[in-house]
Amino acid sequence: MTSQSATLVTRRSAIEAEHIELGARWLADDIHWPAGYGEAVATATGAAVALGAGLAEIGPLDELLLRGPGALAAAATHATGGAGGGATGGATTTVGRAVAADLLGEPGAIWLLGPDEVLLLAPSGGSALRTLASDLATDDVSAIEMTGSRTSLRLAGPAAPAILSELCPANTTPAAMAQGDLVQAPLGGVRAFIARQDAGAQPGYTIMVARDEAAYVWEILRRVGAPHGLAPVGPAAVSGVAAASGGSS
């Protein structure tokens, strides 16, 4: 009765099949997330992002959800700047923001979803979230491991706001959403977290949806985005500063 714990467990994106069809190169043999796509797709990348928009899946990310009356305060001790209203460094308790975070020395992000609901994000492979899961759990704070529950996408380019406005009835325009602002709204009818995070000079968004709806959201973004010149790209092509960790730039 031996286990196979010595075997490396392959982790997979929810839209692994879609990436394979596009000729994806994986981040690692056991991490089936795209580093980029095959040559034919790659040549379109630069033009797409410059003139239309690029769509990429980022990750894998580790996720830790904090719930409860103490959640906001617990998270605030780890936020590092990027808070709304021009505050520099230190704590933030502004709900509706996605901010960069220092998670026990590892770079990450904090998505402030509500007065009692905070999502901590970190690139997979670190240990910070696992430590925080036990450190932060108190009577007033529940820390729930959510790794694998969401698919994170990046949509960036001049046409990104227009594409979103065809799928989301909430106001996601750059005029209404500042850098780092975050909304919870339907995207093509499914619930999404949408944060404004530009890719350098290009308007951009980080979008999180439930894993089981990822294939549908990927497909409708591509379908609605096609007339706008949307192309699938590797994550580097649409990264903002620290976007790969879900943080704001």
Binding site: Q4, A6, T7, A14, S142, G189, A210, A215, I220
Partner: protein, 962 residues
């Protein structure tokens, strides 16, 4: 007639180098790039474009602006296309509508000859008896009257898009007032969306050669040039998004403007709305005023200026206002010979345009009345009674109806503005209402360039929220009122003479019929509308609402205010349902194991939004695998909730008729949740994984409702509980069968021996290196383990299980096999075997209820139900023969239904048809015989069955507990 094409004006829409071939009623035509279907056909000499609805009268272009029924054609199979606003496209196939056998010779125009048999409301009086002939009457009437033909097999190449726009200010109408308001609002810092149905901005200025005054940016420019200047200014303003070729079809609550733009539907949410929809000429009323060649003056000018097409050579202008004289000079400037101008007012106006008309040699006829049009397939002249009472005929091949334009108030009325009848104008105009909706331009009843420009700028400023704008705007309103006050009294409305002065062109309603309707007692405009169908056709009153009100007031001899108007409702213009619906966006949910099922040859089914494998090609083999060896099913679609916190146990106790706070850590308990009426909402399991940590599963379709239900109970309570939806976090698979333990043991260090992991035990540990929650529960009647693993590692786990089980013949099994297997055990599925009237006792789950507690959801209802005893009970049955009744079929006694089959399957394992059914409690007796219908209809064959109160397979449950 090639000489209908003009070189000057060149046609602002035209791309002369482009030549476009298309067909109309089978004949080839060639248009120019930028032509509409109508302009190309008129250029080619066609006058008749359609036949009218009831009388099949020949009709030609009237408005050239998409606001009347006269040019409705069928294009590539799509009916009721407005030819005058639809550009020609190469290889377009256009057919006329509502004519038989042909547009030129329509035999159905006999109805015109026999119109005395088709008066107003004839279908309320005739074609009624004998009643059995109605199907014949209906078939004939439907053929005779109607518009286009719907081809239900046609699949138009329509890719609708939907856009959600947000702006500070929406401006509807891109004429001078709209453009100036938009520019002002943008200049004041507002983000503006400007909606205009033209391909270019400028509105009526595009058809005007006279100079524009009022705004410094346009002063002195001829209209067409002013239009271009406005378009350039708007294009240069980054804060204005201009939607061209876009129609605002309705105004709704909270600043919502619905807009169609081709096959795109735009939902625009604006802080404030500026309406500049303009004013439109209405048809003049005289006998046979519907002949081809009788057009609105603006229609003639649209054809000329936009498409370089002259629909005739010699025109008579009919008017009741200075506007007609201005239009006459425009026609003269465009090269049309104006033979005469008929003005119902008794005096020639003292305006500059009158001099121009006089100088051009046109006969001026003040105080004259048009009696009738002459000509059948095309107008040849008008019979006129002069101011001196003498009747004569003036020859012409064109009649330009240039009556005083009516403000297009539809959207203002929809936006909640009230309308007031301005006596001096004899028009209804919007009354300033909220600051959120501002009306400007011709829509306010103004015609003076200066006042319009000033008002537009103020409206833009007001909409942008500029300080002091309100006061300035109010002052302007006073100026406007003063301007109206000095107008001369309008002429009274005279009822037109003749048999057929058409009021409603869409529905072929004449003034005479309105007289008849009022005489029959329908003297309210609203009831007269419904009785006569006036304003109810495709144009929705654009050509006839004003005239109908005017005529009705005249018939009754009451004021316009008393007569009122009928209600304005969206859409302003026809819009295909597909465009409102937008792109096909139907969410689909996939489990983490989707690709494995696909590779294994799954036949898919939909369970709500989820895709699930129904089977993999051999249901019998799947069932056999589970019973004899081991099977693996993907149950990721189960809802999963993480419930933790100090009050988690107490909260679960509150929600359920049974308790969970006394569940030991590492144990599982079945849950069935009811509402306060004692009705079962959902079922699943609860596993206690820690002192304050519970793992709850729900039914596949119920997670959203259960999550909402739990959140609601927490919303107004101060319990310390956190409920988190972890459905997407965990994939789940059920390893079931007598060999399941062997397969699992080889992949994990967790003790899965019979004593190590007993029935209803829960453990967390690594399986094949994947962190998993192992729940030993059963649903399919065999030893089973439900494994919940992080979704991104689920495929790894599935592969490992399949590999490990290969040696013993593991098979994936799908929903169909699962349904059969669970039915062999008589496990109910909430939502299939229960409904909105099912309580736990009735559903044979009475053992669940632990009522010895102060309060919980459903306590009182369940106590009351316990006292009464259930009326109907869910029980198993097996068929005596081999027939398998349909799910939903009735259980009958003496031909009347007494119960219902909820689940029914053929079990190969048992060799019989088994099922679950609701029966009256007194009939639920082991071995009792019942009669079951085989189909779901109210009649049909029946078969006998026997009540079985215990599970069909392994009734003691030893296999599941092994």
């Amino acid at each position: 007639m090639a000489d209908r094409r003009l070189s000057d004006p060149a046609g602002d829409e035209l791309r002369r180098a482009e030549s476009i071939d298309f067909r109309f009623d089978g004949r080839p035509h060639t248009g120019v790039g930028g032509d509409t279907i109508a302009s190309a056909l008129v250029a080619d000499g066609l006058d008749i474009l359609s036949r009218s609805f009831k009388y099949h009268r020949p009709r030609g272009v009237l408005c050239a602006a998409g606001r009347c029924p006269n040019c409705l054609v069928q294009v590539n199979g799509e009916p009721n296309v407005r030819a005058c606003v639809t550009p020609v496209v190469p290889a377009m196939v256009v057919r006329s509508q509502n004519a038989w056998p042909s547009l030129g010779l329509d035999l159905l125009s006999l109805t015109d000859r026999f119109d005395r048999f088709f008066p107003i409301g004839f279908y309320y009086k005739t074609f009624i008896r004998p009643r059995r002939f109605w199907p014949l009457y209906e078939a004939v009437l439907r053929r005779i009257a109607g518009l286009g033909r719907v081809d239900i097999t046609a699949r138009p190449d329509l890719h609708p898009r939907k856009r959600h726009l947000h702006a500070d200010v929406a401006v509807v109408g891109g004429g001078p007032a709209g453009c100036l308001a938009a520019l002002e609002a943008a200049g004041a810092g507002a983000r503006v969306v400007l909606v205009d149905d033209g391909t270019r901005l400028g509105g009526h200025l595009r058809m005007r050669s006279r100079e524009v005054t009022g705004d410094a940016r346009l002063a002195g420019l001829p209209g067409v040039d002013a239009a271009r200047r406005l378009a350039a200014l708007v294009a240069a303003e980054p804060r204005i998004e201009h939607l061209a070729g876009a129609t605002a079809i309705g105004i709704y609550d909270d600043g919502l403007v619905g807009i169609t733009q081709g096959s795109t539907f735009v939902r625009l949410r604006a802080g404030r709305i500026v309406l500049a929809a303009g004013a439109a000429e209405r048809p003049a009323l005289f006998h046979a005023n519907d002949r081809p060649g009788i057009m609105l003056a603006s229609g003639i000018l649209r054809l000329i200026h936009l498409h370089g097409v002259r629909p005739g050579r010699r025109a008579i202008v009919v008017t009741d206002d200075d506007h007609g004289w201005r239009q006459a000079t425009e026609l003269i400037a465009a090269g049309i010979e104006v033979a005469a101008i008929v003005d119902t007012r008794s005096v020639v106006p003292e305006i500059a345009e009158a001099a121009t008309v006089r100088a051009a040699g046109s006969e001026m006829l003040p105080g004259a009345t048009v009696l009738a049009a002459q000509g059948r397939s095309r107008v040849t002249g008008l019979r006129i009674r002069g101011g001196d009472g003498v009747e004569r005929v003036i020859a012409a091949d064109l009649v330009a109806m240039a009556t005083r334009p009516e403000p297009v108030v539809t959207l203002a009325a929809q936006a909640g503005l009230s309308l007031a009848f301005e006596e001096r104008l004899a028009e209804w105009i919007p009354v300033a209402g909220s600051a959120d909706v501002v009306v400007t331009g011709h829509m306010t009843g103004l015609t003076d360039d200066e006042l319009i420009a000033a008002g537009a700028v103020l409206s833009g400023r007001l909409a942008a929220g500029r300080d002091g704008a309100g006061a300035a705007h109010a002052h302007h309103a006073e100026q406007v009122a003063a301007a109206f006050a000095v107008l001369p009294d309008p002429a009274p409305t005279v009822l037109p003479a003749g048999r057929k002065p058409f009021v409603c062109l869409c529905e072929d309603v004449t003034a005479k019929e309105l007289v008849q309707g009022v005489a029959e007692g329908f003297d309210s405009l609203e009831t007269l509308k419904r009785y006569s169908t006036v304003t109810m056709g495709p144009c929705q009153g654009k050509q006839c609402h004003g005239n109908a009100a005017r005529v009705t007031a005249a018939i009754r001899g009451v004021s316009r205010t008393t007569t009122g108007l009928t209600t304005y409702r969206p859409p302003f213009q026809p819009v295909p349902l597909a465009v409102i619906a937008g792109p096909h966006l139907h969410p689909v949910r996939r489990t983490a194991l989707h690709d494995r099922h696909e590779a294994a040859g799954a036949t898919w089914m939909d369970m709500g939004d989820w895709k699930r494998p129904l089977h993999y090609g051999d249901i019998e083999a799947e069932c056999r695998a589970v019973h004899e060896r081991v099977g693996l099913i993907d149950v990721s679609t189960l809802g999963k909730l993480d419930v933790r916190g100090r009050d988690a146990g107490e909260f679960l106790d509150w929600l359920h008729p049974n308790r969970f706070s006394d569940l030991k850590v590492g144990r599982i308990r079945y849950r069935a949740m009811t509402d306060d009426a004692g009705i079962i909402l959902d079922d699943g399991t609860v596993a206690r994984l820690g002192d304050d940590r519970y793992f709850v599963t729900t039914g596949t379709g119920s997670l959203d409702a259960v999550d909402g239900w739990l959140r609601w109970w927490l919303a107004a309570s101060d319990r310390r509980v956190d409920v988190t939806n972890v459905t997407a976090r965990f994939a789940a698979m059920n390893l079931a069968g007598p060999r399941a333990r062997d397969v699992l043991a080889g992949l994990t260090d967790v003790d899965v021996s019979p004593d190590g992991l007993r029935y209803l035990d829960a453990r967390e540990g690594l399986v094949a290196g994947v962190p998993a929650v192992i729940l030993r529960i059963g649903f399919v009647g065999e030893l089973a383990y439900e494994l919940h693993a992080p979704a991104d590692q689920a495929v790894h786990l599935w592969d490992a299980l399949i590999t490990a089980g290969a040696g013993v013949g593991i098979r994936p099994f799908g929903v169909e096999a699962q349904r059969i297997l669970r039915l062999e055990k008589q496990h109910a599925i909430v939502g299939q075997d229960t409904d909105a009237l099912s309580d736990p006792r009735g559903a044979s789950m009475g053992w669940l209820v632990k009522a010895d507690r102060p309060d919980f959801i459903g306590r009182d209802a369940l106590a009351a139900l316990a006292e009464r005893g259930p009326r109907d009970v869910l029980t198993g049955f097996e068929m005596i023969g081999t027939a398998v009744p349909a799910e939903g079929a009735a259980v009958v006694r003496d031909g009347r239904p007494i119960g219902r089959v909820t689940s029914s399957k053929w079990s190969t394992t048992l060799g019989k048809a088994i099922g679950l059914a609701w029966l009256p409690a007194e009939d639920v007796v082991e071995d009792g015989q019942i009669t079951v219908r085989l189909g779901t209809g109210r009649e049909g064959s029946t078969a006998l069955a026997v009540v079985r109160t215990a599970p069909f397979y392994d009734p003691e449950g030893t296999r599941v507990r092994s």
